[in-house]
């Protein structure tokens, strides 16, 4: 989903729910969760799948994570295959709002200038490679400002 549209939607939903229950947001990483919390404040209720002490590449979502995504209004994740467990989690949750194409599906890598995008065919013979570009864009302070904007 286009990031500006998703952020506009987030704003509209936040306004509409200003006096209603907080928007339920599930973020894959604590960095994203904190970003949403900073933006949404008391209008969002944020939960995070991957604890900050865990390697985000190797998370085994728990039943409680599936239930949180099932109830979520917005699902925020990196994309670029950083969270390979994200697709199975979304399938298990079966929440059409937050699946790809849904109004509550927000991939933060959209619109970010990516580094190390492979220009030729990639192969695992090169070791740990990311086929769509470096997915750790959220570590760069400039990109965090971009995501928040």
């Amino acid at each position: 989903m286009k990031k500006p549209i998703a952020l506009s939607l987030l704003s509209i939903v936040l306004c509409a729910t200003a006096s209603a229950a907080p928007l339920k947001v599930v973020a894959t990483l604590s960095t994203f969760g904190d970003l949403v919390k900073q933006i949404g404040g008391e209008h969002v209720s944020v939960s995070v799948i991957a604890p900050p002490t865990f390697n985000p590449h190797f998370i085994e979502p728990k039943p409680s994570d599936v239930l949180r995504v099932k109830k979520a209004d917005l699902y925020v994740y990196s994309g670029l295959d950083l969270e390979v467990w994200s697709d199975p989690l979304l399938i298990a949750a079966a929440n059409p709002k937050v699946r790809a194409g849904g109004a509550g599906h927000l991939k933060l890598s959209n619109g970010v200038r990516l580094l190390e995008v492979p220009r030729a065919n990639v192969t695992r013979a090169e070791g740990d490679i990311h086929a769509y570009g470096n997915p750790h864009f959220w570590l760069a302070p400039d990109n965090v400002a971009q995501m928040a904007a």
Binding site: S64, D87, P88, A94, A100, N110
Partner: protein, 400 residues
């Protein structure tokens, strides 16, 4: 006179020095001239290229906005192709057995698994697992089902050939197991690879009263029958099997969890014994993560049969207990104890297994497992397994 000779010699030496210096100065002057000449040529070349570049910029069209990085959700035709993954399971086995049965004292491709899956439309998704083996002719459909994503009342459903969500291990694929082989209670009661049948399964999360406690109820009905060499049910396909599983998940902390599952199954023992068999299952799993890598898991499953057909042991009981410890990024160790009463024999199958797993990468794994087994029908065996599991392509296991 000597003074004159000395003075004249000294003057001569000074003349030589002057000549040498003069020559050096000439050489340096020539070098500087050459460098200056080269610099002038390079400067002219730079000016020429700058003019050329400026001309090209004037004649080129405006660049289009940078296309977004290709993603799994892009609209390109490639993203409409299904996700395909291949997992190869190679097993070498040394044992005391003299029978030339599957795998004894030889290496084999125990299973080549091909997974194919993709969204059909916004409402449904298709997933399948096809299996080939050194021991089987043809292709086996291990799983082929459609997941219904937009169900009422917060339900989710799978329709097709499935590995039903009963217990813990039955729903797993071989590459997901902590051991080389399935626990003996699964092999003896449900089949060598567990139970996989065609049917319908519906699941729902129950109302949550506490954020730390999650419950999920699964109900299903399958065509009758049982897995290869399984004994729980008979082979009559038109006598269906029904099951229910209640998962209770306790999140003690972000690093610690306990799961308790209850299973009930009912099915046919044969042509004239419809609903003659019930089975009750209990699964217990506790996990603790010490850090991002190190993890300790304890898992047990217990199954009790209640049969109305004519068998030796109407209330056969079997279980296993497993302890698995991931040491670091590369190694894991563990042990499993099996104890299974058979319906056709008075004794029990008992086994102790220990193993070491080497994780070459997230796509390649080697495991060595020793197993000492006492058979219910008599006899013992000592088995040494060496397993290699390798994956290519897209391979994302469904969450169980």
């Amino acid at each position: 006179m000597f003074l004159c000779i000395a003075l004249s010699g000294r003057a001569s030496a000074q003349d030589n020095q002057l000549d040498t210096l003069s020559d050096q100065i000439k050489t340096l002057t020539q070098s500087v001239e050459q460098l200056r000449s080269a610099l002038n040529r390079q400067q002219q070349r730079i000016e020429s290229l700058e003019k050329e570049n400026a001309h090209l910029k004037d004649t080129l069209p405006e660049p289009s906005p940078a296309a977004p990085a290709p993603t799994t959700n892009s609209a390109s035709s490639k993203s409409l192709n299904p996700d395909i993954g291949v997992v190869i399971d190679m097993v070498g086995l040394l044992s005391n057995s003299k029978e030339d049965e599957e795998g004894s004292d030889k290496a084999s491709i125990r299973e080549l698994e091909i997974t194919i899956g993709h969204d059909i439309d916004p409402f449904t998704r298709f997933d399948s697992t096809l299996a080939l083996s050194d021991f089987e002719d043809g292709v086996e459909i291990e799983e082929a089902y459609v997941t219904l994503l937009k169900m009422p009342w917060d339900l989710s459903a799978r329709v097709g050939r499935i590995k039903p969500l009963i217990g813990k291990v039955n729903a797993l694929h071989r590459d997901q197991l902590d051991t080389v082989d399935e626990p003996l209670v699964i092999q003896r009661y449900l089949g060598v690879e567990g139970l996989s049948r065609t049917g319908v399964e519906v699941a729902r999360f129950l109302p949550q009263f506490n954020d730390a406690f999650t419950q999920q109820l699964t109900l299903g009905i399958l065509e009758g029958g049982i897995g290869e060499d399984g004994s729980l049910f008979g082979d009559v396909r038109r006598h269906p099997t029904a099951y229910a599983h209640l998962k209770n998940f306790f999140e003690i902390s972000p690093n610690t969890s306990i799961e308790i599952g209850n299973t009930f199954m009912t099915g046919s023992a044969g042509e004239n014994d419809r609903n003659a068999v019930q089975a009750f299952g209990l699964d217990l799993t506790a996990e603790h993560h010490f850090d991002a890598i190190r993890r300790l898991k304890s898992q047990s499953e217990f199954y009790l049969q209640d049969r109305d057909d004519a068998v030796l042991n109407e209330n056969a009981f079997g279980y296993y207990s497993l302890l698995d410890y991931r040491l670091n990024q590369r190694f894991g160790i563990g042990a499993r104890y099996d104890n299974v009463e058979r319906i056709a024999f008075a004794g029990k199958d008992k086994a102790v297994s220990t193993y070491i797993t080497f994780y070459q990468s997230e796509f390649a794994r080697l495991r060595i497992q020793y197993q000492n087994i006492d058979f219910a029908e008599g006899g013992k065996d000592n088995r040494l397994y060496l397993q290699g599991t390798f994956a290519i392509g897209v391979h994302k296991h469904a969450i169980k």
